[in-house]
């Protein structure tokens, strides 16, 4: 994937680009907002990592122009400010995610992966999560390239969880996504579907964690060390 980092702090920019290159991405770095807007208009990027505190044209303005260009490039905003208004303003302007400096690198790479996956999933019929692959058009699932039998409700629950890897999905959100109009689905029913999914997916190393009193979280797939 091709990423653009817009960050005026040289040590941070070089650190970020090396980490993301190590993840296998092609990374371009610019320290000026004007250059970022120009680059994005001329070339294709899969994700922009944008610092808000830039000299002259600040990150909000860059974000506004990127959005005005009607190119649906995912934008991950980095900021040193964490005031709620800043966060809201960034998200209002169309940022896809938001991180407050300083941050742990594994968290950054996880969010980058999630954003890329989400943007690929848009219109893409195939969702891949480690050894699991879902063909959303044919509605067929594969685990380690073997066909996987999923009941309709299990499929729906899995789809909701896959859309938010590493994020907690509340039981209410799952019920809303899974239950049809006029249907009454109890939280207990959701527990049943999740436990069936677990028994099918855990042997392949895919973990669904229960967050007590809240919901579930599909963990990032980590290949088991050999």
């Amino acid at each position: 994937m091709r990423l653009l980092i817009v960050e005026d702090d040289a040590p941070l920019a070089s650190g970020l680009s090396r980490i993301l290159e190590a993840e296998g991405h092609a990374v371009d770095v610019t320290e000026r907002g004007e250059d970022a807007v120009l680059a994005a208009s001329q070339e294709h990027f899969d994700l922009v990592i944008l610092d808000i505190g830039l000299p002259r044209m600040d990150g909000y303005e860059v974000l506004r122009r990127l959005r005005a260009a009607e190119k649906p490039i995912p934008v991950l905003v980095l900021t040193a400010r964490d005031a709620v208004e800043d966060r809201v303003r960034g998200l209002d302007l169309g940022a896809d995610d938001y991180m407050v400096k300083p941050f742990a690198m594994p968290e950054l790479t996880a969010r980058v992966r999630a954003l890329l996956r989400r943007s690929q999933a848009h219109g893409g019929p195939r969702i891949v999560h480690g050894p699991l692959a879902l063909d959303t058009v044919a509605r067929r699932a594969f685990l380690r390239n073997e066909p996987l039998e999923l009941a309709a409700r299990e499929w729906a629950v899995l789809e909701v969880l896959l859309a938010k890897v590493e994020k907690i999905v509340s039981k209410e959100a799952i019920i809303q996504a899974v239950a049809g109009w006029g249907e009454d689905l109890s939280p207990n029913a959701i527990e049943v579907y999740v436990s069936r999914l677990r028994s099918k997916l855990e042997p392949a190393g895919i973990k669904i964690r229960t967050v007590r009193g809240f919901g579930y979280m599909l963990e990032e797939f980590k290949p088991a060390p050999h």
């Binding site: 702090d9 040590p11 941070l12 650190g15 970020l16 090396r18 980490i19 190590a22 610092d51 505190g53 980095l78 040193a80 400010r81 964490d82 005031a83 709620v84 407050v100 400096k101 300083p102 941050f103 742990a104 690198m105 594994p106 968290e107 590493e166 994020k167 907690i168 509340s170 964690r209 967050v211 007590r212 009193g213 809240f214 979280m217």
Partner: protein
Amino acid sequence: MPARSLRAHLLRLLLPPIAALLAVGAVVGYYSSIEPANEAYDQALSDIAAAIAAHVRTDDTDYRLDLPPEVETALRTDRYDKMFYRVLSPSGAHIAGDDKLPVSERSTAYDARFRGEAVRIVTAPAPCGNLTCTVLVAETMVKRTRLAREFLISSLLPGILIALATLVLLWFGVGRGLGPLARLSEELKARSPRDLRPIDAAGAPEETRPLVSALNGLLDEVALAARNQQRFIANAAHQLRTPLAGLQAHTELALAQPLPESIRTQIEQVHQATMRTARLANQLLALARAEPGARGSSSDVNLRGVVEAEADGWVHQALERDVDLGFELGSAPVQGDALLLREALANLVHNAIQYSNNGGRVTVRTGQRDGQSFAEVEDDGPGIAPQERERVLERFYRVPGTRGTGSGLGLAIVREIAGGHGARMELTEGAGARGCRVALTFPHG
């Protein structure tokens, strides 16, 4: 009682002139009514004297009073007063009546004492041949004293009533007149310390406008100072956080590479120190932001929503330490600064996770108890001994022998933020007398 009561001041100012006016009014009223009355009584005595004078008889050398006993009895009879009379010859010799009734040369009506009592005496001439005899008629002062008392009371009473009414009206009038000020002070008292909006001058009466506008000027300046500090903090945050993020990125990059063991250990130390510094910087900023005057806007915040929005990050922190982080969330609406409330809860959760044992349980609860919103975090770790519970709220204090890398600021921040929201902060044992539970209970409404 205030040091200088406006009521007392007005009373001190008004009482002497009112009392003086009252006294003057009473004196004038008394004399203007008592004199005609005395004259009427004198006239009655004078009539009696004239009646007696008609009974004075004269022959060549002698004068005598020829008063039939029934007439004398009638003359001497009065409902209230004792009556006396005396008749004197032209030469001043006693002819008849009560001897020793005092005679005055100067006046035809005068006050005197007779038989130990105060009397009023009126004289009348009686023709005695070619000469003139004198008739004195006296009566005691019972009627007159009584009348004088009545006049005094009737001239004083309306004045006293008017004065009392004035004082009562003054008392309540001051209360009523100060009503707008009382409402103003109620409004100020009800304000949260973070609310620096100007006071609405529209409803205030003309006289309090200068006060309101002076207060608004002050609020304006405080708000400006708060905004400046806020901007300074934001800048400081940027200046600190960006290089820290760079430092963190590079140490993590270095650690991802194969390194000789001795260098790896050192870089790990650098990494640890970087993380600690980052957290410390965040906490100092949070503390600065929580200071009164530097606070942001107050709005409707639901603690449940705050927890739900942060749950992702907290769960990941918990996973790193193999802690089971759970939630029991009910609606908990409060008035406050969403950012600070998030910071407070994040500190409580961070502490609970940090000081839990591996495999421990941490539970975050929000909801309402007795109509008051609360948020609490409970762990089943080693807990805080009762004698340490007060001290852990102090800045930079850490319980001796505590593991980990905390700065000792977390609970101090929570206390500061709770205090700013009028919330009560309680440290107790967790369920089953294990671990620690920190609860924040917010005021009604």
